[in-house]
């Protein structure tokens, strides 16, 4: 067990205060993870008291250093550091209420819930990739606005568990490739995970060598308690501006607990009253006292004064920078407000069926992106090696590379890291609607990141094309079937599947201007008819989630379609008309937007008591909420041409018309 003591009494006290607060909070709650905060207390102390540029009185200062506790189960490390740094919301009272209803100290850190928490973490590996996104954002904004207003680091702490997860591997590879020198991670190398020693599954791996292979700058600190060694490592990492840094820190989980330190027993459970006492005795603390902050510890952190001074210095530069160029200042303000420049609405393309009768919605999306890109000067994003397919690239920009930061990130075939890094960019601020794109099928690869975007309620934008069996020959491994439903299942996620080119433009407007949280755009591979809006309801109806596309007096039924199946619904209505059956057609691009409308509107679109049939080339799960019967795809696809697939799988006007008749 590592035993080097911190170098001075006051530092020792400050570090040990983190340890005792963590022990006490977990013991008081009866559950939680004391071991990581105890082992890594010196790193937390160093970051918050000395290394990081942050102002506890203004946790939203644009140029603060960002900190990501990827190993979110060690939340007490962060809460203790926030408290000792002087973040006003993080009182000792909150720490006493660790992991209880209504506290600011939930089991895992939650952004927007607790001031000073930059990212919601806990699901392992995500934080590493979030941090890569934060670093991508900083570098973009630094190049765009200048070093005088944007120049900071992203620091993080990750665990063995974080580094076993594939998402962190993907993100680390990209960060190394792009040479993100503004990113510094401490790896808490404690040889322990929940199931025991990492010798069970991991510790033969040479993590630093792996990160070398990615192009990172790597260092070792042999004892987490050696503050000078940590200081030297941080300094070397900061001086390395062309590569991200990993500092592998040999720590002892639960240090200095005499009986549980260095064992899995310190990982995920309270130490127990006796062991807390014993540990306090080792530290020379009074074992009868809890939640104690000894005299001088707040002063030792002195974060408020340092932070205020740093921000004041920056403010002076910032104000001069603003005054020098008011137009640039407006771009900055809108970017940090998360808004596009004025004029985006008017710039939206309109698609005329007389000029082009059919267009894939992914192609309409591409046209829209080019049209609105000038109004989104800080929208950074890209696809997971599918630019030619999903068509999200901004043609006016080149690729984000080591040499230049642009709006087009080439994520590589790394969907999960893309998702988490996009979340990091959204969390950074200044980046408006950062974007990740791939085939709808591969939304599964990044699902944990999508979920976290919804949980954090941030402006991540997910663009998925190739949205059904109609993608054709690539077959069932690539054909989404259950994916639209699975995305709708995530709370707080707005899913939009536009039915034609004009709805696609409108979907972009809604995603960028209307929806605050994360949005999914679901697009077709195949061409779809551009609907004649002089004949049908306006595409603007999309912003209500569903709208009447084709009204019909005395209608006997309503057919509801989404995306590519809206034109199938229209064709079905025509077939029915030939048989003397009158049917209305509703386009329903978004359940969530529709659910936000009042009952009167919803009843006007989907009249109660009237037979209703949905058609969507995916499973019918959940459609029972809206309709009486569904034409759907409730099994896996196959490899064949798209039109063949639709016919063989019964996504046809004939099948819809027949289904309607069964209800009459």
């Amino acid at each position: 067990m590592a035993t080097t003591a911190p170098q001075s009494t006051s530092e020792q006290l400050a570090v040990d205060t983190i340890r005792t607060l963590a022990m006490d909070a977990v013991q008081h709650a009866g559950n939680g993870h004391p071991g990581m905060p105890m082992g890594m207390a010196p790193v937390g102390y160093l970051l918050f008291s000395e290394v990081m540029k942050h102002n506890p009185k203004d946790p939203h200062w644009a140029d603060r250093d960002r900190f990501v506790l990827s190993a979110g189960h060690g939340s007490m490390l962060l809460y203790a550091c926030l408290h000792l740094s002087g973040y006003p919301d993080m009182t000792l009272e909150e720490i006493r209420h660790f992991r209880t209803w209504g506290s600011r100290t939930p089991g895992h850190p939650e952004v927007h819930h607790t001031a000073g928490v930059e990212v919601t973490t806990g699901p392992l590996g995500q934080g590493v990739a979030n941090a890569v996104g934060l670093a991508l954002a900083e570098r973009f904004l630094r190049e765009k606005f200048g070093e005088e207003v944007q120049s900071h680091h992203t620091y993080g702490i990750c665990s063995d568990g974080d580094l076993m997860e594939g998402v962190s591997a993907e993100a680390a590879s990209l960060a190394g490739h792009l040479g993100l020198g503004n990113l510094i991670f401490f790896y808490d190398h404690n040889h322990i995970s929940i199931d025991g020693r990492t010798s069970l599954a991991f510790d033969t791996e040479d993590v630093n060598k792996r990160f070398d292979a990615y192009g990172w700058h790597t260092q070792d600190v042999d004892d987490a308690n050696d503050l000078d060694a940590l200081r030297a490592a941080v300094k070397a990492a900061q001086e390395e501006t062309g590569r991200p840094s990993l500092i592998r820190v040999r720590s002892t989980i639960g240090f200095p607990s005499p009986n549980k330190g260095g064992t899995p027993g310190a990982h995920g459970a309270a130490l127990g009253e006796d062991e807390v006492r014993a540990t306090k005795e080792v530290l020379g603390w009074d074992p009868d006292q809890h939640f104690v902050v000894p005299e001088g510890v707040y002063e030792q952190f002195s974060a408020v004064e340092r932070g205020a001074a740093a921000q004041a210095e920056w403010e002076e530069r910032f104000q001069a920078w603003r005054a020098a160029d008011s137009e640039r200042a407006q771009v900055w303000d809108l970017a940090w407000a998360g808004k596009p420049l004025p004029g985006l609405d008017a710039a939206l393309p309109s698609f005329d069926p007389a000029q082009k009768s059919s267009l894939a919605t992914r192609a309409a999306s591409h046209t829209t992106i080019q049209a609105i890109a000038p109004f989104l000067p800080t929208q950074v994003g890209g696809s997971a090696d599918l630019n030619e397919s999903v068509k999200t690239g901004i043609e006016a920009d080149g690729p984000y590379s080591r040499e230049q930061a642009t709006r087009n990130v080439y994520w590589g075939i790394r969907e999960h890291a893309m998702g988490a890094a996009v979340n990091g960019m959204a969390l950074h601020g200044g980046i408006v609607k950062p974007l990740g794109a791939t085939f709808l099928q591969f939304a599964d690869y990044m699902r944990p990141a999508i979920r976290l975007s919804a949980l954090m309620n941030i402006g991540s934008l997910w663009v998925y094309s190739h949205d059904s069996i109609a993608l054709g020959e690539d077959g069932p491994t690539h054909q989404p079937v259950e994916h639209i439903a699975a995305l709708r299942a995530i709370p707080n996620l707005t899913v939009i599947r536009p039915s034609d080119a004009n709805e696609t433009a409108e979907a972009w407007r809604v995603a960028v201007e209307l929806v605050e949280g994360p949005t999914v755009l679901i697009l077709s591979r195949q061409n779809l008819p551009v609907l004649d809006r002089s004949k049908y309801g306006p595409a603007k109806g999309l912003d209500k989630g569903a709208y009447v596309l084709a009204e019909a007096e005395g209608a006997a039924a309503t057919i509801v379609g989404t995306g590519s199946e809206v034109s199938v619904a229209l064709a079905a209505a025509e077939l029915l008309a030939e048989d003397g059956v009158t049917a209305r057609v509703v386009a329903m691009p978004s359940w969530e937007l529709f659910e936000a409308q009042d009952q009167a509107y919803r009843d006007s679109v989907l009249p109660p008591g009237q037979p209703k049939v949905s058609v969507e080339a995916g499973i019918h799960m959940g459609w029972e909420r809206w309709v009486d019967a569904s034409v759907s795809v409730d099994r896996f696809g196959a490899s064949a041409a798209g039109e063949v697939m639709l016919t063989e799988y019964g996504i046809t006007a004939e099948a819809v018309a027949a289904k309607v008749k069964t209800l009459l």
Copy 2:
């Protein structure tokens, strides 16, 4: 561009036949991926004609070498090799119908659909992890049954894209840790992905160094066309029995296409008629002929003769081995039939509420696992570093390690690789119901593998505990809300959420004995009442998916619960009874099992026309199919004690009773 020619005319012809078949098939289909098969044709040739032990006339031979084309988009490489090797189903006619409805040659290889295809691949990275599972299975069976009957390699080809995906990184790390010397991968290092050169996002990474860090044996072959260099590398890899091998092969995508070779243009689209002609001219082939297999090429592969001889030799050993120990032979037979040993039913535990009134279903599952483990001598699996939590460990066995192959794999915190490797074990054969386990929340991390288990219809078993907000203090990052629905959304996946200890034992029986495809068991963290089966319907009812737990004459309503909410439903019925309202209670552990019952049974459980209310601590999406109203959790959770969460979120008997009353 690499240009070394193969060493002899007949070899050259054989290799070039793969190239021309790939070109012709893609050109004829009008779409597909010609470049990879053309570039890696020498590796395909070498594996199928010389290196691999396989018998085209018996693609199910237990001791064949396994081959995984992780880069599944290069399917024509595999189809061409299967054809030239003499797999009877893979005719030239099938190759002519590449990527069309009903052919054996879908866009991506599909196991069970095409003889000789071991794994369904296409979603990148999966195949690498599937191969790790195949290797884990082989090693387990080799140690269990002996080298004379089980001793083979798993070979694979992976691409840049495969190696960017996190799932392959996780799997490679584990394979290195466990020293799987029976695994040999060729890395098609062609510097090209869909979006262009891998310099955009990847090629600064030193992949071999990374694999060194994992503990792999790594080699370079500088030219894919240098068959002797490939041979030497394979030999060295085979001789390395303590480490998995990666052979990085510098190839030229689309070789030797004069205008598209080495460019993204050869990756994912037909070369075009002119370029196919030009390429054939480079090869010295007649550009007017298509789908040609020159004289001598079948003979050059000579796979049928080699395979028959190899299998005959093995059969002799195998028969002697069987005769020597008939009991062992029976274990072998049942294992390869995917069945438990006789007696499992009788060994199932029964839980008596008089002895223990409440028990978490994860704990009941643990008891059940120990009871049935003797009957599942080849069930290999484990959890992603959550043995203490999900409780899937087999106590009679130690950990699967470098030193010994056991039934307890410690996957590390690598859910995605776990999922794909479990699929690999299921595909290998001989492993009965291989198992992957974690918290339900982290099913999201491995969703692509779950989906593939369903698409392949294999016996993977997924065990997920901590199944609702009732897990408590870990908070919303760990509390599943939409996950049960999202799993039900996947076609062909049987999801079972037992309501008490006895249903849990029954769920295990159903998963092991009844369901052929993949099964999900969803378990509680918290204790649940052990239902008094003398009072309620028998737990055996679980095998019908839903059953009447508490019948009530003249009932006014039915309450349907799953898992932990079944006891809430029972309590609600009691509350209603106090108010003079009679309600029946139905336990509905599995929608899919229930849907398989006939209408009469379904109507007897959920009577049409009678008000029905569901209660489940998750989103209510899809419940409209079964009931009129739902008590559900349609938002993210929070960090607080489990009981507090249930109360605050309205998962209570009172809320259910009140909901029932709204329908009366």
